[in-house]
Subunit: 761 residues, 2 copies
């Protein structure tokens, strides 16, 4: 059982690897002592550390809460890979600062008002037969009821749709097993017609509901015209889950405040929290969405605000809507992987309640209801629906599933713990403390039909003392827990630096296959060719009345055009196409003072638009550190006074270079060519064609080298005419092309060496 | 030398710690094998892993590039702790979504146009005698020349100032040794008067410069009226550093494109990059800022756009401005810790150039100049100023210093390496490869007079294949390198998920002492009492014409008021004060569809304002998961039609609770009190008063318990009148207060246990 390795050998190996006898490296034991690490700490470190160039096993997608964004991180390293802009403008991505992404945000306007943030709560990855397929992600906005679609091919937001009948929603971003629909349940009730009604009319005029957004997988977009809602009582609907396997075709939605209580603490009335949790139970809504969709197709829906709403009386009459009492103020409603059980956690209860889909169906079939609610909806008794209840602790909230049969994990908000339990036997198997006050939790693909187990993440709402202090506003704390053994083991504390992730989903990394470049000239927000795209050499500036349109290009290190001249008051549109192919060769674009920014990844075309409303001189530049001469990748927007005419015959000043300057340039060019030849020699001596990343780099380097003959012809022609200014500058430009080719070539060489490229000759 | 520990013992220890004989934990060797980790990987993991509850040694502040924000992360764990909103609205922090922060952003408007992003490049921590003091941080916006002030007491942006004479800047965010001034150098030249001038007038009318922003440390604000600029030639000034020790009072600013070249690739002219790097040298600007400040005080500056500008001819005449040729297109200009040497890296050179301040002063004193530039500025010859040049590799960019004497580190962009070298002997000591194309680099307090050594971070611009793919737009890669030994050792790859950090500074964590709460009623953006603040029980809604002003409060789990009634068209201001004291008990506030959001940390008062322009029902709610009943922390904004009158005598529906309901409530209350008594018993049995975090929690819990007598009196009075509705609801409210007290109490108990509180009785 006991294994012994020599830590001294580790020191030695490191020393040798570094090739320095003088270096006295610390041994692992030294490091443990210096840093106060326990053996368990080292084990946790080893379980989470991902060495350079290696990949994480899972990719997690967390809602960004009030940041309105989506947070992508790796598991087990817990390193954040990207914030994807969804509901909130974000300039690094150009989101809301270029025209195409502005159109996405504008489609999310409410009552004609642009909404520049969201309260993102529940991300959902698209599913095929109940399994995560890694194609799309959906996420909701609680504050302004909306759903967004993110394409996982490029991690960009493609669409925002506004709920036409709700004023608030929480239970959004849940998909049916083949992503036929994205479900969005209302939260705080209000009139569906978006009209004013006094609170006194709460029971009669205020309504909840659930919207089923039709998703067109081929187009990658939600189709509002084919979407519909089911009207529900004003019971503050909460999270939702779709049935699967035997329960496929049904959906389950929690509620709280089924008391329909209206607070008023400022008027001496007991506050919402008292009235909304006075009863011991709320209602789980059980809905046959497949049949509801058919009823809508049959024309049985009512149009409200132009949207199909299946009214409660129709739903009741057609037998597609039922209620089941559940312990009060629940949050999670989680369908087990086999689709047979539905697990509900009442936050003010100490139990999880396991409902049986089979029992619910039996009661419906038998017409066995304990009552009807005030709106005529049949209520199945809790006893008739319940499989079992398991006491897990204080403040149970959300349940996720393990790859191991019958094993579930439930977060305990008040206890600040995670309970591991068996939903077949009803036994609690283990508990672990978390820091502090856990909301949702996540296992790997933990709500799919085939959860992957391995890791669990506790989404703790408070971090308090866990991290270096950063002022009164603290990060949240996502704690990674190893669930591969019988006992849960805390591995890692991860601060969330921006936003309050409400829920998170994780997918096997191998299922994601995003692209690294676009087909040249693509508008990434529409997935179509961009009308402003041009190829190299076709750059053009046109004027139509007061409108100036630039169609330009970007390639290391030029923006073409380098000068844009307009008249004050012109509306200026600048379209830019990134001509690079190499992975990660993004260019940015900003114009001083005009509040536009674009991120233009390889192949993408982006337009920015503004009114040049003040005369002056405005530099524009590439905002990415894209080459050694990135600072020189710039130009000037000249906003001229109306009817301005150049005075005299002034020309741009000459530089007064000499023949000696020219000869020096030529010498440098010859020397640099030797470096390039050596790099090219190395690359072509190995199997570089087996590395698509390198092939793209070689293509980009070749592009740069191919520009040399033209520049060479120019400097030679100028030299023949003894125009040493032009001769020196064009010779310099030859060198610029060389430097960039060498830069890419050296990067390719490093890449090949790091990836153990094989000699082919 | 060789130490042997039994890994089997580790397994055993873990097994015992978990108290489960059945659990077969992996040994370290098992984990290494399963995860493919080398011994060096484990050593790196152990050097960077920070166990739960432990702190990082250093805190790094990275500019957020085009995100416009500031990124705060811990070293060595490389976990991002916070994105601080600076130039870009950010809803999680309420930045740009509440009134006080909107005022900060509005002060950054240019030509009356609100600018909603920035290109943040260089953060600088305030210094006292050349040492980082951890009080303030300054950061620049390259795209729209501005400087922001962040207060490190609360990590909030307090001020944005717009440069009155520049159109572009890059060399911003550098401080003088006692933070007298924050320096901001122009980049792309333009007329200082902000007027239009054609490119043909480039040499005559376009200008660069450097602005010295006066900082008032007591007020924590820049004072524009006491700030000034020095006019400089149109040489594309770049980064700047302040002299220190013997060179204190002077500043050094790089440049590129001192050729004053104007591109035009679209017109067949060689592009900027060719013309801007055609000469072998550019100029380092050497400026006596102390004397410049005196000259300005003496009235020798010219007012341009209302701002004091010391013109070049005055600066030359007064002997405070000199030029020194430096290898072309340099980026870094870095003053060594002793203040005697200035290290410049020409990006197209293979050398770093070490200039001697003493030699520069000697040349100035002797009046020994090789020439004057076209603007009459004396040029000291490179030979007379240079100490030495050291060949370090391709694309040297930025230099930072070690705690070890004479040891410096320079980033090599083209080679994708870091060179460690000795600036006293001129020897290269070591090189390490990074991934890929490093821009700036950072050692711990590496530009202060007393660098701390230990760690170096390489700010790599490309990550390419280092991380799980997330689409065409890649994260940057910050690589942590151990510099404690003779050889550098790569420890960790950290993806930057949002923005392109341009430069980063790191400070010893112990120097930061941010607060966790505000004095009740504070406007955090002005540091003054907020006019909208009220105390508990003083909440009020007032109307003045079409303006409705709410002064409300927040405490778990109520927003007071719970109903706000206005008429369509009213301008609504909602002021909210967070009454919590416990650390990390932040509340958020959103109104459906009105595009406002506030983050209200303990003690803070925030106002949101909007026009209620459409009649209807709009829920508002707390956007933080602040208690188990956070979903119930809500209310309704009712926007009524003009002149709406309630119809009939309808009242809010009654709940019809019974005496039995009331008795059940009372039973629960009694049971819960037992839990509370037990928790209180534990807390008071230990030295909880030694833990300020817990003292705050106890205060908040006591607040909740103190509300009970009033609610108890109400339920007893109602019961006496057999009003079972009110009796049940107020009894329920007693329980709510209990639950929150218990929630806080349990958290305090966990905290005390985790921090090994001692029994006192």
């Amino acid at each position: 059982m006991s294994t012994c390795i020599k830590l001294g050998a580790l020191t030695l190996a490191l020393g040798m690897g570094m090739g320095s006898a003088a270096w006295s490296a610390e041994s692992l034991q030294d490091v443990m002592k210096r840093r106060g690490l326990s053996q368990q700490d080292v084990l946790s470190a080893a379980k989470t550390y991902v060495p350079t160039g290696k990949r994480d096993e899972f990719v997690a997608f967390a809602s960004g809460g009030q940041s309105g964004q989506l947070i992508v991180y790796g598991v087990p390293s817990m390193r954040i890979l990207k914030y994807v802009a969804v509901f909130t403008p974000e300039p690094w991505q150009g989101y809301g600062y270029d025209e195409s992404s502005r159109a996405i945000l504008k489609a999310g306007a409410i009552n004609g008002k642009e909404i520049t943030w969201g309260d993102a709560h529940h991300p959902a990855i698209s599913e095929t037969q109940g399994k995560y397929d890694g194609q799309y992600l959906f996420i909701n906005d609680k504050a302004n009821p909306r759903i967004a679609v993110v394409d996982l091919r490029d991690f960009e937001t493609k669409q925002i749709v506004v709920n036409p009948v709700f004023k608030s929603e929480h239970g959004g971003g849940f998909v049916t097993p083949n992503t036929e629909y994205v479900m969005e349940a209302a939260q705080y009730a209000a009139p569906l017609e978006n009209e004013f009604q006094p609170l006194e009319a709460f029971n009669e005029k205020y309504r909840g509901g659930i919207t089923y957004w039709k998703f067109d997988r081929k187009q990658g977009r939600i189709v509002p015209a084919e979407s519909f809602s089911v009207e529900l009582p004003p019971y503050a609907q909460d999270v939702t889950d779709a049935g699967k396997g035997p329960s496929e075709g049904w959906s389950f939605t929690n509620s709280f405040c089924s008391e329909r209580y209206v607070g008023g603490i400022e008027k001496g009335r007991p506050p919402y929290e008292a009235g909304c949790s006075a009863k011991d139970t709320d209602y789980m809504h059980v809905i046959n969405w497949k049949k509801a969709a058919e009823l809508v197709k049959q024309g049985k829906a009512k149009k409200i605000n132009g949207h199909n709403v299946l009214m409660m009386d129709t739903a009741v009459k057609e037998g597609i809507l039922f209620l089941v009492p559940e312990p009060k103020s629940p949050h999670g409603v989680d369908v087990a992987p086999d689709g047979k059980l539905i697990i509900v956690s009442g936050k003010l209860d100490t139990h999880v309640s396991v409902f049986s889909f089979e029992k619910i169906m039996a009661a419906i079939k038998a017409g066995k209801f304990e009552s009807k609610d005030p709106y005529g909806i049949p209520v199945i008794s809790m006893k008739d629906a319940l499989q079992t209840q398991v006491q897990v602790g204080l403040g149970p909230l959300h349940t996720q599933f393990d790859a191991k049969k019958c094993v579930a994990y439930t977060s305990l908000y008040v206890d600040s713990q995670v309970a591991k339990w068996d939903y077949c036997t009803g036994k609690v198997l283990d508990k672990i403390s978390v820091h502090y006050n856990i909301g949702h939790l996540m296992t790997m693909e933990g709500d799919a039909v085939d959860p992957k187990g391995r890791y669990l993440v506790a989404l703790n709402k408070l971090s308090i003392d866990r991290f270096n202090p950063v002022g009164p506003l603290h990060p949240q704390n996502h704690q990674l827990i190893d669930i591969s053994g019988d006992k849960m083991q805390l591995l890692y504390d991860m601060p969330i630096p921006l936003g309050e992730p409400h829920n998170t989903v994780a997918i096997e990394a191998s299922k994601l296959r995003p692209g690294v470049r676009y087909k040249v000239g693509t508008d990434s927000r529409t997935d179509k060719p961009h009308p402003g795209a041009v190829r190299a050499g076709e750059e053009v500036t046109t004027r139509t009345g007061k409108k100036v349109e630039v169609k330009g290009t970007l390639i290391r290190s030029h923006i073409t055009p380098e000068t844009i001249e307009v008249e004050v008051g012109d509306e200026v549109t600048i379209n830019l196409t990134n001509l690079e192919r190499a992975e990660d060769e993004t260019h940015g674009f900003a114009v001083s003072g005009y509040n536009v920014h674009a991120s233009i990844e390889p192949g993408k075309t982006v337009a920015v638009k503004f009114v040049a409303d003040k005369e002056g001189v405005y530099p524009y530049y590439c905002t990415e550190f894209c080459s050694a001469l990135h600072l020189e990748m710039m130009g000037y927007l000249l906003v001229k006074p109306k009817n301005w005419k150049p005075q005299g015959t002034s020309a741009i000043a000459k530089a007064n270079y000499t023949e000696a300057n020219y000869r020096t340039r030529l010498k440098t060019v010859a020397e640099t060519q030797a470096v390039i030849d050596s790099v090219v020699g190395y690359i072509t001596s190995v199997n570089y064609k087996d590395f698509p990343d390198v092939v793209s780099m070689v293509e980009d380097a070749t592009d740069q080298l191919n520009k040399i003959p033209d520049a060479k012809a120019r400097h030679e022609a100028a030299a023949a005419k003894k125009d040493w200014d032009q001769a020196t500058l064009w010779a310099e430009q030859v060198w610029q092309y060389q430097v960039k080719a060498a830069d890419i070539g050296l990067r390719a060489k490093t890449y090949l060496e790091q990836h153990n490229a094989k000699k082919t000759r």
